[in-house]
Amino acid sequence: MSSPGDAILAALPRSGGEPRVCPYLMAGFPDPETTADLLLAAEAGGGALIEVGIPHSDPLADGPTIQAAGRQALARGMTTRVALAQVAKARTRGLRVPVVCMTYLNPVAQFGLQEFCQAAAAAGVDSLLVPDLPLEEMDELEGAASRAGLALCTMVAPTTPDRRLAMAAARATGFVYCVSRTGVTGTGEPTEGAALLERVRALSDRPLVLGFGVRRRAQVVSLSGLADGVAVGSRLVEAAGEDDPSAAVREVVAELCGRPELTRGPRRGPAPDREAR
């Protein structure tokens, strides 16, 4: 029998080699209608799993780049409902990789936890990641996600003691998101990532995704044998802000994956092919 996390397990196999690249995109940035295009571009560039951020007015865990993208998305009319519709649109256009919806609690709470989980599952979302929902507060969303067939990812940080690491890993039905250092997204180097990954690995066989501060190919390579996936957010949001967002997102993901040939493959979506950049 299949379980909600199967697609994530398949996308992030434990190979001991290079971690898979998990691009993060802010739904509605640069504008609401391009989100489906960018999801497809991220997959075409080699992304193994895509995180889609739902914009929120008060994103406590995000640095300046993602904050600004969220503000612009909201200003241009992005809503939770439209974000899910864009995921659904990408699915009908052939998006295959798992989608993890990253959202703060309040937009989900106002939508209704159960209603949100049902709507997300119907749109083709595989899993949820809620950065302001600690283990102690997780019961209700956990139940709602499970009933809707969604996996739940949990987060751990370098400050998390081993006892909590074990709890977080045990409750993850998706991956365990390992925060690479104390801080917010997009600033600083992932200096504490390796040590954290080793601690979690000793306690869990869930897929481990490292995020916060990863923006270069060399950092991806350096996590070989440690992480199963790396989340890259601010770098992708910067790319989504360029003149040709689909091409830029695809190119950055391909570069992070070390697969330059994917930059120029046959392109899906409306963006025109570019010969060179």
Binding site: L74, T80, P107, E136, A157
Partner: protein
């Protein structure tokens, strides 16, 4: 009365819950720090040496007990006795110093070397910068650009005290944005930094901790009422932004079921979205800055802009204990608008020779509008109005 009032020390509510409100909704990075803070606070508040240090600073440095003033001319106007709890006479000009001194002593005890805080009116930032100077701690205060403009004197004072004031956000940014940015700093520097939140908001244990430290207001005021008025007040009135002065004074009267409790929110320019700060009166339950309470939000859960002439009430959330006091009916809440607050500001100045903060002016205005009963009203005069002169004098005649 001799010496400062005693703190009303209760056990922290399990999981920080006040009925369906409260809790702790923050990134995992700071969850262990919040758990350590709760344990350290429980331990410190049970330690006579910690309490002696706190009461010593409150008495010898901050100026406690603050007086209870029988406002005779204001009473004539109100048609019943009005008593003012003079937190405006506390060092730095507002009740905020009670919390800042207590949290700084706690941060020292926990071995932290750096302090971050948010501020709206600048009073909490000023109190924190003051306590950091006294206790030799590095201090960074986050403040919205709009608030820095309207509270320029407090910015200058914080700089003189050695604090770094970090401007936050776009030109319209206020307390909400400053709070988010202070939390982000804390998430980044959590190992050596303590976050001194300025009100009874935020994740558990902050609402409980700040309430406990501000309960000195209520325990003093209750004893002073019995001593000077010979009875308990019929109504206790306090302004509510986040709600720390109100919880501080309410805390001593919660068990006195005959004493009515009235919180006063910012009605701003009117009840339209974005024009006020009346989270309890016009908001809906939601999660902001780490706790579940009433917040001002749109149907998608995005937090709305706010307005109040008083920077300290210009906030889209409110402490979770207030949300629960409203839900249980133990306290009630009203909103008064900018103009009513400014009128009360002038009235108190002329009748009593006391220039109140615009925050406290909301409470004075509400006290004058009470129609039920004839018994004494106790108003928490939470701060003084020096910081607001430019706002009031620059205001177009209505």
């Amino acid at each position: 009365m001799n010496g400062p009032g005693r703190l009303i020390v209760t056990a922290p509510p399990p999981q920080g819950r006040y009925g369906e409100f409260g809790g702790s909704f923050v990134p995992e990075t700071v969850v262990p720090a919040l758990q350590e803070l709760e344990a350290a606070a429980v331990e410190a508040l049970g330690d006579p040496r910690f309490l002696a240090d706190f009461y010593g600073l409150e008495a010898g440095y901050a100026g406690r007990p603050t007086p209870l003033h029988h406002a005779r001319r204001l009473s004539e106007r109100a048609g019943r006795p009005v008593w003012l709890k003079r937190e405006d006479l506390l060092h730095t000009g507002a009740h905020k110093l009670n919390n800042a001194l207590g949290q700084l002593l706690l941060a020292k005890r926990m071995g932290k070397r750096r302090i971050v805080a948010e501020t709206g009116a600048g009073q909490h930032g000023l109190a924190t910068a003051t306590a950091c100077a006294l206790l030799s701690m590095e201090c960074v205060v986050y403040m919205g650009r709009e608030d820095m403009r309207r509270q320029a004197v407090n910015v200058a004072k914080m700089n003189l005290l050695g604090a770094r004031v970090e401007p936050v956000g776009d030109p319209a940014a206020t307390l909400k944005d400053a709070t988010s940015e202070a939390i982000r700093d804390w998430v980044t520097n959590v190992r050596d930094t303590h976050y001194v939140i300025g009100s009874v908001v935020g994740p558990h244990p902050y609402p409980w901790l700040v309430r406990t430290l501000q309960s000195v207001i209520g325990s003093e005021a209750r004893a002073q009422m019995l001593e000077l008025a010979g009875r308990l007040p019929e109504v206790v009135v306090a302004s509510v932004g986040g709600g720390s002065n109100a919880i501080g004074i309410f805390a001593a009267f919660l068990e006195d079921s005959d004493v009515k409790l009235l919180g006063v929110e910012a009605g701003g320019r009117g009840p339209e979205p974005g024009a006020h700060g009346a989270s309890l009166g016009l908001g809906t339950p939601g999660v902001l800055h780490g706790s579940r309470s009433y917040i001002l939000q749109d149907p998608d859960g995005q937090v709305l802009p706010t307005h109040s002439i008083s920077a300290g009430l210009d906030y889209p959330g409110v402490g979770p204990e207030h949300a629960n006091l409203m839900a249980t009916g133990r306290a009630s809440y009203v909103a008064l608008d900018d103009r009513q607050a400014v009128d009360a500001f002038h009235l108190l100045t002329r009748l009593e020779g006391i220039i109140p903060a615009l925050e406290s002016s909301h409470a004075v205005a509400a006290a004058l509008r009470l129609t039920d009963g004839k018994g004494p009203i106790l108003v928490c005069l939470s701060g003084r109005g020096d910081k607001d002169l430019e706002t009031v004098l620059g205001r177009e005649p209505a």
